[in-house]
Symmetry: C2
């Protein structure tokens, strides 16, 4: 029940379409039951071929809840209780408790987790704050190659640990036929949910950064072109 609530909170609008889109079976229409799904907007959005609404599908769930008051973002995507919400099969509560308890000792993770725990907004990944040196490295690579492949991206992600408080590295070796974890200088900086970062960032972050950087380049390019045209125009007027 909690699981259902959580899963449907961030705007679903797919189950109906899935059933509808399968074949000509248009007879089985919406059943009009006031379930949690319907309350949270599951039976909404029956978009035709061309949806009219512009681009913010994650806002649709809100429209059913706040009834048109689109200006208050606090009511968007109000996931009630997220803890252990998705699947209870294959989950060991003892393990999860330990992991959660452990997270309290990592200040960076703690702040992130805490922020996300208390925040009304639960849809989007918390904005990553790259450091100056990380940006510098990324920019240097971008100057040479604005379309890095997977290898360069992963190498970048691995090497992007240039903070002043340098991140410790965990290495893996194999002894007695088992992987043994060795930690040096004792700290793990990023313990983000289900991964440990080895003093690097996620490759996906690098991908996103380069996408945004290319967009920025294109933007500035367009802008300079516009200025150039304007300049030519004004100078032609003066002649």
């Amino acid at each position: 029940m909690m699981a259902s609530t959580s899963l449907c909170a961030a705007n679903p609008a797919a189950a109906q379409n899935l059933r509808k889109g399968s074949a000509f079976a248009e007879n089985k229409t919406t059943q009009c039951s006031f379930s949690i799904e319907s309350i949270l907007g599951l039976e909404q959005k029956k978009d035709g071929i061309a949806a009219v609404k512009p681009h913010r599908p994650w806002m649709d769930a809100c429209t059913n809840l706040v009834l048109g008051d689109d200006s208050n973002p606090r009511l968007q995507i109000p996931v009630v209780s997220y803890e252990n919400s998705l699947f209870h099969a294959n989950s060991n509560p003892l393990q999860e408790e330990k992991v959660l308890k452990c997270e309290k000792y990592f200040s960076v993770t703690e702040r992130l987790s805490f922020k996300r725990e208390l925040s009304w907004y639960r849809g989007r990944r918390p904005r990553t704050a790259f450091t100056r040196s990380q940006i510098e490295v990324l920019e240097n690579v971008f100057k040479m190659n604005s379309y890095p492949g997977i290898d360069i991206r992963e190498e970048l992600a691995r090497k992007l640990d240039l903070d002043e408080d340098r991140i410790q590295v965990i290495k893996f070796s194999l002894r007695y036929g088992m992987p043994e974890v060795i930690y040096e200088m004792g700290a793990v900086k990023f313990l983000l949910k289900n991964k440990v970062f080895f003093g690097g960032i996620d490759e996906a972050f690098v991908t996103i950064w380069f996408q945004n950087r290319r967009a920025k380049l294109k933007r500035s390019h367009r802008e300079s072109q516009f200025l150039m045209v304007k300049n030519n125009f004004t100078s032609s007027l003066l002649e």
Copy 2:
């Protein structure tokens, strides 16, 4: 030198634009030096406001190399030597060697790494093959919510370890003021470059999966709509 080669291989085409896009300084045009950058296509693509070529920017580097023979994909993005190519500062060769040596003991990673090492294609991440059970879980969530937020995505990523060979879990606890790594049943399944997966997959993979799944849903929806219209048309002809 190797670093430069590697970085520019996967189609750059940005340094010039960066310099050009900064201001009205259009005087400093391409210097026509036959450097590695120019050979690999760095001084190409001078796209205006609206680029004519449709959409495959990673192909542009190839045009300089194969001179129009666009049909042979083996010549695209030929990164010569990738090992330690990006930055040599802040890298401990001993550490890297250990990590690399360690990777040999993980068959999954080994196969992936080996494939990527030998493959001519180095631009794209190797296609992930989700298991049947993973797809099942993703589909079940998708039925309820096709726009999962970061929390659901990360929970999904964490829980998507439903393979038959179940993944062991590494947990962190804190003793003696230091994070101590405890491993249970001794195996780490995914050691992918710089992260250890705790029996899950990357959240980015979940994001991508949902994006593609939504596109597929929309596609099938469009298709069914078309069939419906066609059906109505033919039946109206018969009446």
